[in-house]
Symmetry: C2
């Protein structure tokens, strides 16, 4: 029978909606990430999905403001037009820390796993509603660089749940480019230059050069910036020192990069220093990192973050330096599935289906199910309660379950139960 739809039942563009088998895969990844965060000492919190627009946009502005979803209560639109959906976990976290500072122990190691919202133009791999798995560490007054390494080491371990062939974590520190621009007296256009460097890999080299020329930067300085952008790999620290830039911020950047790099090396976390990594969001103030899958660089960064020493400054005069990072789970799940790097289990979801032959065996079937659940807390046990013929019940059982137990009059009488492995056809006593 062909069904007739009365309304459009597809999801809104940019929303991910999974079938149960895919949802099970997704949930397993989410649990795996959550477990790594827990084991590394990050405490979980959740902030509301809806927050005050002035809080969400205190720092952001620009693109974020255009992408934010405002929410309006139908009944009282005037009162609520100043509310919006959070677009990341970092901004609400800054508010959380300011609000609850007296109830938290600092450094506060915190994880957040939940849905965020951006009204971006829908395109492949871009979602308007998406899970992010964040960890952050917030200090009181100060926060040593050792915590930057803690964030990256923990995220690297969390990414192991995806069983990727390899990952490549690219690391830098924004103080390097900031210091260089100060040295070159280009401070006044630093936001533009950060943006050009951030996009340099996505456009031909000539375009990057033209963009710099458009800013009226001299050929000499463009050459210096070009050389800087080429620096990456294990000898990065030496090459940065060889530039002989005396600016103090630049020198701090070298030392910070070296410290984080060395700490990660000591923890057997492989990272590659790379001056092309600057991160678009301008709340980052130091360490920045992005993560790629070698051979699948077109997927974009699958995990990124950095140091933000000023974020809470829009809400309070207290100083709460922070560092954090995020795995974009919804996007990552989608792109890895499509790239064939992830696949759903082909096993049926239910462990054992109990199949009463007729309604009179349902009470005993329920009793057997309850006992099996008690004995095996990790089993999913279902009782097929349809009033169909045995054949129809069995074909449903085979579709949803790995094992089956048929219960008829004689099973109720004797209590002798046979369990069948649907995949192999083998039967044994239960």
């Amino acid at each position: 029978m062909k069904s007739m739809k009365k309304l459009n039942t597809t999801t809104i563009s940019g929303m991910q909606e999974l079938l149960p088998a895919s949802q099970a895969t997704f949930n397993q990844l989410k649990r795996g990430i959550s477990s790594v965060f827990y084991r590394h000492g990050y405490q979980n919190i959740e902030t509301p999905t809806i927050d005050r627009t002035e809080i969400l946009l205190a720092k952001a502005g620009g693109d974020t403001e255009k992408q934010i979803y405002k929410v309006i209560k139908t009944a009282e639109s005037a009162d609520s037009a100043d509310q919006a959906l959070r677009f990341d976990h970092t901004v609400p976290l800054a508010r959380y820390v300011v609000e609850h500072e007296n109830d938290l122990a600092f450094p506060f190691k915190v994880s957040q796993i939940g849905r965020n919202f951006r009204g971006e133009r829908a395109q492949k791999g871009r979602f308007r509603e998406f899970y992010q798995c964040d960890i952050d560490i917030i200090g009181r007054e100060s926060l040593p660089l050792a915590y930057d390494a803690d964030i990256i080491a923990t995220l690297a371990e969390a990414l192991s749940v995806f069983q990727l062939p390899a990952i490549r974590i690219r690391l830098s520190n924004r103080q390097l480019l900031s210091g260089l621009l100060a040295e070159l007296n280009l401070n006044h256009i630093s936001a533009d230059i950060f943006n050009i460097v951030d996009h340099a890999e996505k456009v031909p080299p000539a375009t990057t050069k033209q963009r710099l020329l458009d800013l009226n930067i001299s050929e000499d300085h463009i050459a210096t910036l070009h050389d800087f952008m080429q620096i990456n790999g294990p000898d990065t620290i030496e090459r940065l020192r060889a530039l002989q830039i005396s600016n103090a911020i630049f020198q701090q950047g070298i030392n910070a990069l070296e410290q984080v790099f060395t700490s990660l090396k000591n923890q057997n976390v492989s990272v590659v220093p790379d001056m092309l990594i600057v991160r678009g969001l301008d709340y980052y103030t130091g360490t920045v990192f992005e993560t790629f899958v070698p051979g699948y660089e077109n997927l974009g960064s699958i995990c990124s973050g950095g140091r933000y020493d000023q974020l809470a400054s829009h809400y309070t005069d207290q100083h709460f330096p922070g560092v954090g990072g995020s795995i974009g789970l919804t996007r990552l799940y989608a792109v890895l599935s499509e790239a064939g790097l992830l696949s759903d289990s082909t096993e049926p979801p239910i462990t054992i289906a109990i199949v009463p032959i007729s309604a009179s065996e349902i009470p005993y079937a329920n009793q057997v199910a309850a006992e099996l659940r008690e004995q095996n807390p990790n089993y999913a046990i279902d009782v097929i309660l349809t009033d169909k013929k045995l054949g129809a019940k069995l074909s449903h059982a085979v579709k949803i379950a790995k094992f089956g137990v048929i219960i008829g009059e004689s099973e109720v009488k004797t209590g002798n139960l046979q369990i069948k492995n649907f995949a192999t056809g083998q039967t044994s006593s239960l």
Copy 2:
């Protein structure tokens, strides 16, 4: 130092935001409920938070329409004004089933645990954003009443995670009042009468009577309705039969109630038939139930649901009868905490804090932490990386962790580690 806030950092009224220890309790309850759902054969799905307004309001209307949160993208308000936040899990599930019917096995036993949104007037125990933990079973063409019992038995087991002193599940079937009203020729005002019965416990008896009088119902019929509303307890079926109402819908209601009641009794799930239970939402068509905590009836129903045989009919001409129920976790957590029926763990969140005395012991401390995590997958292990004095590091460790391991020069040299139980002061070799 007194801190100065620059913006209001409280949450919006009606939002729940928990400190980490409370969030841990909340998460544990959520995981416990999720596990019961899984073990009873319910597959998990998630629908988008944002859906088309026409889908969300296809059936609802009335109060729901007033409470719904619309969402608007700042950049393109015209295109997106027809989108809103889901207010429950049942309506998006109906859409999901219609959209994916060819990829699902029916009866489809499904769980949903997530946040829903209602712009209700904020009041104690009412949240605008709240977690609901739902299970539903959707049939294709038909769905036997045995599944109604499966929903209630599973929810009763899920509620055991709260370790309540007792719970009281009150059960009825809307066909009873529907059939009675048909018998009394009061069909035309049945929505009003359902509403009056639904509120009968919250107002004095005289008010209920007056409301019925206001509908121009005769004293005779009011007496009949009054007698009907008094029926509850183990002899409900006999008392309903004694009313000798021949209406076929009423008789179906008796048989359905008896079957669900008996099935639950067979599964040792204690329920009380009670004619005052009719549920406000008019998508219910048969079985209805609500759950109370004896002695804490003022908390309201903590878990409720019922049979809805027509919900998907607004989206398709196919027939998908369903039954389901929901635990309102956010509200339940709040009211049980306040009633003293739930309390957070007083144990610190971290299992073991590793405390390197100076920066030079950090690499070894990280190594010890990694080994401990490897050996004990359920431990939360933190390394205190602050650059403070040992005393300050230790007082932070005591605040956040159950056990501590101090690592100085000699520990690095010898590898002999002592672990201290902060609660007892006892120390032993690691």
